[in-house]
Amino acid sequence: MIEIPFINLAVIYPEIAIFTASVIVLLVDLFMKGEKQGTLSTITMLGFAAAAIIASRQWFHFETGFSDALIADNFALVFKLLFCAAGVLTLFLSVHYLNREKIFRGEYFFLILSSTVGMMILASANELITAFLGLEVMSVPLYLLAGYDKKKLLSNEAALKYFLMGAFASGILIYGIAFVYGNLGTTNFDEIYRALQGKTLYGEPLLLLGLGLILIGFSFKTAFVPFHSWVPDVYVGTPTPATAFFSIAPKAAGFAILFRLLFKAFAPMMPDITGILWVLAVLTMFAGNLIAIAQRNIKRMLAYSSIAHAGYILIALTTGTADGAKAAILYLLAYTAMNVGAFGIVILLGREGEKDLSIAGYSGLSRRHPIAAAAMALFMFSLAGIPPTAGFIGKFYIFRGAVSAGFIWLAILGVVNSLISVYYYLRVIVIMYMKPEAESDRVITYPLSLMVAIILAAWGTVQIGIFPNSWLNLVRDSVSGFF
């Protein structure tokens, strides 16, 4: 008999649930006649719900499996729950949009589900090759989602750009993994940690090269400056609900693996690379915020703002402390709520053919559509980090973590950036509330599914902002066993 390694399928129960749902969606789409959007979205929803329930029941179980290649600690589980939430919210955003743009096809749900499987693998990967596998499973459906509106030129451009950039990033990443393996003889995070004892990063040029290439590979996915150039074009060309998904879930997955990589595997090297991360964080924040000011298209503005938000989370990564990790998770939760909300309003106000995306077109919106304007104002306040919203709580804990870890300047630059961002977020509010009404034949219907998404997002934004305690407890539990 061949010795079969210890497998423990429990680690991937949430992945199995979502994968099963994705296969069912594909088959139902093939064999069902007539109107099938309702059925397909229900199956997708059930898949996400099942995965979320399984993940929450594994809380504090710390399952490991597949020869320690995968680990389902609380840190991984909180990200899995986040992906499920992002998936469900995206689903609510999508239903109306796909009908309006007349681009509904069953594969849409399949792509979202299978991409989520990849993110989950990435979040619980405890080994470099598994992380690479997760990254690819996550990315390939995302390339397809970017080009989903295949009759539109912009969407094609988005898909091609995203694919080429992503493929190069994957190549760079796997090259880095090869160097790390060549130097340390292992890809397992725990073993890397042990092998690194007594080594310094700058004493091992190949290790430095390997870690650098790995960081670059993941930086493409989380869109740190200077690896962000694909973001604006991809975000604009992608169908809007998928853009919302892009800006939340893959980014969170990228951060999940970066945290595990830098806080666990390469923890002994952290003092050597904080300088690099520091520069990346400052560049990312400044570039994202300053370029966002010049944008006239709301989707482009949100694209640059998502770059800037990655910069804030990068501050938390730079600190290298448990407080930083907690703050980052809280920020990602808050960011999910407020960004889904903002994109929801963009979809609500848009028209067939992705029209009406200019910020100037929102002028005087508050008079004719007070509810939509008020909701947009809430999300913009939250993105700008103004209390009492989720964005404020998230930024507060990130900056506090930075200060208590001794990164005073980083915190100051973060606050400066936060102030810069207020300019372009508040401009949207000013245009909506204080400018005369634009000549527009805009007719807004309030479709139920979209309203559910926006209301959930608004609830999350206010809930994290006003009653952060239960969220802080969740975040505290989620890093237990991680440090």
Binding site: M1, I2, I4, V23, L26, L27, L30, F31
Partner: protein, 118 residues
């Protein structure tokens, strides 16, 4: 450690020298009497016609990609079949899951009409 790669180095040197020598010998030894027919591109005896960079149906790409996909996945079956008895029931179930997923892909391809050639 480095010495272990010496055979590869030798192979590399040979791989470099062989084509260079093979190209150099005719240059020195052979006589040159070019005629238009001798200079023409060799295409199985038929005179060359038109440019090779032509547009051709996208279906070829689709078929090629599908072939690659299923061919690669079929390759997994060989090592599995070789140690099938040693893997026992576990191996059978794992391969069953794998083939089922593959089958779903195949059904998808058929139903979407990717293999239809009008």
């Amino acid at each position: 450690m480095i010495e272990a790669y010496f055979p590869i180095f030798v192979l590399f040197i040979f791989a470099l020298i062989t084509p260079v020598v093979m190209l150099l010998i005719p240059k020195i030894v052979a006589k040159r009497e070019p005629t238009p027919i001798k200079d023409a591109a060799y295409e199985c005896g038929i005179p060359a016609e038109g440019d090779a960079r032509e547009r051709f149906p996208i279906k070829f790409y689709l078929i090629a990609i599908l072939f690659l996909l299923f061919d690669l996945e079929a390759v997994f079956l060989y090592p599995w079949a070789y140690i099938y008895k040693k893997l026992g029931l576990f191996g059978l179930i794992e391969m069953g899951v794998f083939i089922t997923i593959l089958l779903v892909g195949y059904i998808y391809v058929i139903k979407k009409g990717a293999l239809k050639w009008q």
